[in-house]
Amino acid sequence: MGLEFVVEVALIAFLIMFALLAVELKKLAYAVASLGLMSTVLSIIFYILYAPYVAVINLLVYAGAVIVLFLAVLSLMKPGEEEGKGKMYDIIAEIPGGVLFIIIAVILVQILTTSYIGIQFAYGKTLNLPSLIPPQMQSMLQNVAESTWRVRVIDVLIQAMALFVAGLGVAVLFRRERREKE
């Protein structure tokens, strides 16, 4: 059990902890900050899993732009209006939800690990994550760029269109609100 193992398990633990905090914290600003930290930890995990492009884009979009958007929306609301009252965390009120969460988690872990065994059976050998940088890693960056711009070019164009429409939709919604005010 080396340092690498400890670091990766700690990252996974932090990921789950920040996700739980994002869901459970009553103050929305803290919840959003926790979501940002979760996205940052996830980006580090992507980098460890040899996905540097995904890590950088995740960091820019989810840990950057989306969090700024969340904070902007929160700042446009009346301060204190939507924050929970009373205790920071009410354990008794969360018991039914907690039981639901545990049931879903156990079922999903069971399904995923079973499918993992199935994949191993299909490959005919044990699949593990690469411990050293594999030779494929050398050409991987080029492969990702190639598959983005050649194989999945339609997806990328549709994504650009979807983002454009989303931006237009947000602009129209805000404009309508401003006009109503005037």
Binding site: G97, A162, V170
Partner: protein
């Protein structure tokens, strides 16, 4: 590097946290946070399953990149709609949004 099972279990737990959030929370912002956690869980699953000693799958990574962009657009729209809903109803509690007439 730790086994693939750890990452699969982590993504399953993240996914269940997102589902739990959508099922139990009544605040619209919290529900959007739940959707984002669900998206992140799916991305982690894709990346973990595409990284094995049998090879790295670039198509899965490309798919995740596309999904991140589309997810960000969805969240932006959901947040702007949330803001409009808040200005109309003066609350983010989904139980109190009963009137359909704008």
């Amino acid at each position: 590097m730790i086994g693939l099972n750890w990452y699969l279990a982590a993504s399953a737990i993240l996914y269940s946290i997102g589902l739990y959030c959508l099922a139990t929370k009544r605040n619209l912002i919290k529900m959007i946070i739940g959707v984002e956690i669900l998206l992140n869980a799916a991305h982690l699953n894709f990346i973990a399953l595409s990284t094995t000693t049998a090879g790295l799958d670039p198509l899965a990574r490309t798919y995740v990149i596309v999904s991140i962009g589309v997810g960000a657009g969805v969240i932006a729209l959901a947040l702007s709609l949330t803001l409009l809903v808040y200005r109309h109803y003066r609350t983010l509690d989904v139980r109190k949004m009963r009137r359909l007439k704008w």
